[in-house]
């Protein structure tokens, strides 16, 4: 797995709720490199989703910084190459980070094809014809080209999630964020979604995945992060994390899920 230079640098990231009573993120520092397949594990409520959602600013962090493409995106403004102060363009940033959700979040009033061409045409200004061609090619990759005209409600959970993944890919993101993409699926559909994610990893996509699929973490991940109580307690290769865990909380956690 090619790791060449860091893509996102997270420093001391904090997210507090209720005036600091709930510390969903309590100082997380981590570098995400190009080509990383980073898997985040941890007990419920440990801040995994909050971390992921902070990366593309679906949550606005209480403190710390996220450097993406050389810009601290947690600030409202930054100095560009010419030394001018410009606003951080959140919409522009978000299209560079694809996100896949537990509950798919396809747009139910649009066909699969419309779901896929909306953002490329409206946000990136791609022509309708080009966007459709690209969408069909992507759908073909996940074996759903023949369902392009269907509505989300007509698809199975696994099919919906595959569409959600290629919908994000249609924006040609630099990194893909997955928040428990298989947790809402019937067991027999988990495999088809994981297969798509594996292929994506093989193609060199940078991925940050929150998942309970330890098999996937082992097989595909190159780094595993363990979070608890909003803190990053341990990180390492899948080998290190699964065969020689050090932190007692991690040992305890693995004892429960493996």
């Amino acid at each position: 797995m090619a790791t060449s230079g860091s893509l996102i640098q997270v420093k001391d990231l904090k997210k507090y709720y209720n005036g600091g009573a709930i510390k969903a993120l309590d100082g997380v520092t981590v570098d995400i490199n190009k080509g990383d397949v980073m898997v985040i594990i941890g007990p419920s409520g440990s801040g995994k989703s909050t971390f992921l959602r902070s990366l593309n600013l679906l949550e606005s962090p209480t403190g710390g910084s996220i450097i993406f493409d050389g810009v601290d995106i947690t600030k409202r403004k930054y100095k560009n190459a010419d030394g001018k102060t410009v606003k951080v363009d959140v919409d522009d940033l978000r299209q560079k980070m694809g996100m896949v959700f537990q509950h798919f979040n396809l747009f139910p009033h649009m066909t699969i094809l419309e779901n896929m061409v909306l953002a490329p045409t409206k946000v990136r200004g791609v022509s309708r014809a080009d966007a459709e061609q690209k969408a069909l090619a992507l759908l073909d990759r996940v074996g759903l080209k023949d369902r392009a005209g269907a509505y989300p409600i007509q698809l199975s959970g696994g099919q919906k999630q595959r569409v959600a993944i290629v919908r994000a890919l249609a924006m040609e993101p630099q990194v893909m964020l997955f928040d428990e993409p298989t947790s809402a699926l019937d067991p027999e559909m988990v495999g088809e979604v994981l297969d798509v994610m594996k292929e994506l990893a093989r193609d060199g996509m940078t991925m940050v995945c929150v998942t309970h699929e330890m098999g996937f973490a082992r097989e595909v991940g190159n780094r595993v992060l363990f979070m608890a109580d909003g803190q990053l307690l341990e990180q390492g290769t899948p080998e290190e994390i699964f065969t020689s865990p050090k932190n007692p909380r991690l040992k305890d956690f693995l004892g429960k899920v493996l």
């Binding site: 209480t62 978000r94 996100m99 747009f107 909306l118 990136r124 924006m171």
Partner: protein, 261 residues
Amino acid sequence: MGSFIQLENFPKIVPYAQLFWQGLAVTVLLSVFTVAIGFCIALVMALMRLSNIRPFRFLGVDANGIPRETGALAFISKFNPVSFIATAYVEILRSTPVIVQIFIIYYGIFGVIDLPNFTMFGFIKFERFFPGVVALGMNSGAYLCEIIRSGIQSIDGGQTEAARSLGLSQVQNMRYIILPQALKNILPAIANEFVVIIKESAITYTIGVQDIMSAVNAVRGATFIIIEPLLVATAIYFCLCFPTSKVIAYFERRMSHGDKR
């Protein structure tokens, strides 16, 4: 003591049939324009109420960058003037009688603003019809605002998250994702508002709009019969509203079936 209804009075109304037909047309047009204007006002008000404009946001964080949750500064930092204006509009219009609103619009606003004197289709007096539409539309807008607002809020938050994560702006998200779904969900409620307006529009006869109610008044003025023309008006209103609400209910049922597909 005469009987309640005197059948021989009905033929006496016949010469005024034209007034009832015209009244019917006025009532329907009035209601259509009212709902159209009301919808536009409501959409703007609903978006204003749901907006997130907080000019004093900076007061909501303390020196350490931690958000304040209580106290006067936290309260001020959450103040949204745009939402406040829309909320005030909705609450005031829903808490005062329609007739008061109509009189204020007609005698107040359009007592100052001069409207051109002309008739539409040969029988609708614009200078009465227009204030009627404005007043009813403003009132209806307040009610429709709450319907639209609840429609927007009923859309799963995951939709916005997905749209924003794809890079759609807040406006694009509203336009392409939220509103199409919300409006489809509340279509029956909007159609019901139309039925409500048909009935409520009867009040505009008080400012001289020549609707069905004003036909009743005209007949009374000329012939001194009142009950029979009222019964005719009752029949007309019923024939307008009852089938309409049945049709709405039919589509509402069909739509909810469609969703379970």
